[in-house]
């Protein structure tokens, strides 16, 4: 399951696999997803339906049911901010690591930054462009999430795979999109938030090599992060009509250390056969500057007037 290429570059990975039936959601999923991190794949052999070009048909609306967006590694249940106001509404569930080997192989010096990220994940200082990208989880700021995080956020994504050499993945969160260029040779012309995705088929697995990602995205709310040297190799394998195995191997010589490798373990998607897709993941999407900062005094007065 792992990408076991000889390496000088640190790499680690994750794998997401969900063993639930289509209707099973919630706790069952969390538990079975965790069990999936053992070495054997629990699904019986499966041959996916083909498109005209002979490759597996990955079309559909998918969603990962794991808690990896909270933390890729083991995490305990926690209350959200202001439990006195939000009660259990703001709470986040516990979950097991989806990283192969359990922990991301950071360099010692890189761990401090992760800690700092965690502490600052809900802080945003918009008054100074210098700290704009240094503070706050990018998800908190409603930024495009980057890869692989987009895959295991708690929102669906849709794969549109036809007969052209491009596959679209459209994510509900921030309406982010990615174009996977099949068998494309050229490198990323410039860094971008969702990166530069080049795909190829290895048997029934769609392998996507993602480079050119902006360094500001994170892997999760726990502050796990990467540098601009990030390279992600994703593997999408259909394992049942309703399940997609997702694996990602991460290389980042600047933040993690080798040769400890780990594969992102877990997800899988759950295919939602007949659902439709809703475009408003961030309901007031991109209203990063509301609140009192820019309010004109008249507006407060007007609001008071109206509330009378």
């Amino acid at each position: 399951m792992l990408l076991c290429t000889p390496t000088r570059v640190p790499r680690w990975g994750l794998r997401l696999g969900v063993t639930c039936a289509v209707i099973a959601v919630g706790l069952t999923v969390a538990t079975t997803a965790v069990q999936q991190t053992s070495t054997s794949r629990p699904f019986p052999p499966y041959k996916a339906p083909r498109l005209a070009d002979g490759h597996p048909d990955l079309n559909g609306l998918w969603q990962a049911f794991v808690t990896a967006n909270i933390d890729l590694e083991d995490h305990e249940a926690q209350s959200g901010p202001h439990p006195e106001l939000l009660g259990a509404y703001g709470g986040w569930p516990a979950g097991q690591s989806i990283v192969e080997g359990g922990e991301i192989p950071y360099q010692q010096s890189a761990l401090a930054r992760r800690k700092q990220n965690l502490e600052n994940r809900m802080k945003v200082d918009v008054s100074d462009a210098k700290t704009w990208h240094d503070l706050g989880d990018p998800e908190f700021k409603c930024y495009m999430p980057g890869v692989p995080r987009a895959t295991y956020m708690p929102f669906p994504f849709q794969i549109v795979q036809g007969s052209s050499p491009y596959i679209l993945i459209a994510y509900e969160f921030t309406s982010a999109t990615r174009i996977i260029r099949m068998n494309w040779k050229g490198d990323a012309p410039i860094d971008s938030w969702m990166g530069w995705s080049r795909g190829r088929w290895e048997g029934d697995t769609l392998v996507v090599d993602v480079t050119g990602q902006r360094e500001e995205t994170w892997f999760d709310r726990a502050g796990n992060y990467h540098s601009d040297a990030l390279r992600v190799v994703e593997r999408y394998t259909p394992i049942s009509p309703y399940h997609l195995m997702y694996e990602a191997t991460i290389e980042d010589p600047k933040s993690s250390h080798g040769p400890g490798r780990s594969a992102f373990r877990s997800i899988a998607g759950w295919r939602r056969p007949c659902s439709s897709w809703s475009s408003s993941a961030c309901p007031g999407r991109k209203r990063c500057c509301s609140g009192s900062f820019g309010k004109h005094p008249d507006d407060h007065a007007r609001a008071k007037e109206t509330s009378k």
Partner: protein
Amino acid sequence: MRYRLRTSIVVLAVVILAGALRAAAEQAPPAKPAAAGKPAPAKPAPAVPSKPVDAAQGSPAPKRPAAPKAWTPTRTPWGDPDLQGVWNDATSTPLQRPSSHAGKDVLSDEEANEFQQELAFGLTRDRRDGGPDADVNRAYNDHWMDARRLKITADRRTSLIVDPADGRIPPLVPLSAERQQARAARADAIARFNAGMPHSPEEMSLPVRCIIRTDSPPYLPTIYNNDFQIFQSPGFVAIAPEMIHSARIIPLDGRPHLGKNLRQWLGDTRGRFDGNTLVIETTNFRTDDGVVFQGGNPATYRITERLTRVAPDAISYEFTVEDPATWTRPWTALIPWTRIDPAEQMYEYACHEDNFDIVHLLSGARTREKNGEGKR
């Protein structure tokens, strides 16, 4: 530093774009009623565009780029007309016919050349003949201009609107006092924004706030990023507009629209193939100010778009909007899309992620207030 530079560029783009988008609809003062003046039928154009829209509506059919007769539209392996590819809709032809060309829907070669030059002069930003204010607005200079934006449509039309025959958006119906008030409030907010005195982020338009831009139908040409990539799979078409990186996923299986209580920034789209034409209808727009094109009423507004591949490198994009609570009749525009060289790619257009200027504009406005500027 690298990204900060990019950022200011993006944000400046926001501001310029806001102007550009408004300009698209307000390009010219109302024209005199066209001499031909025949009332066109209120029925929208027929779904099959092989029948010229304009002929159906009693005005002379504009000359269109001749599709090679021998060309049969290609099909996907599962049998749908194949629209896949990256397409560009840039043109300088204005949405509405300028009064200078009232009564003239198609130009001769010579007239077309002159018209194109006039429009290009109006659009170009490498000019210093308008005083300091104009210079500031033109800071986003021709470096950013999509060169295709400076050419009129190959069929030499004087407006993108093909119905009504005068090439203009039909007159408004009398609006309720409430809507008039809302429009006046909007105009005030725009004036404050243009004067550098916005009160709040919410006063800034949706494009300025990076919420929706040219990804909101109808698709209209603007200064740059006029690309659209179309993807297809059995049962779906997806249109990914370059600006802002969204995707309109269009189911073709006849499923009903979303319930009326679920409204979205880009609405909810359903499609079907009618012969070689993809016909898409979009409903369920959010009611926020600026979501529905030209301030239509979301409750009664309807938009139908028709995409037909008329040649290997050309799509005819036609849209009809109707809203009996806003306009006296439906109206239709036709915009040619050109296929982009496959070696040329569509790149990610980020907007919100580096949109520092919402903050800058607001803090600038507060500073001006402290200094006693802009008393209203």
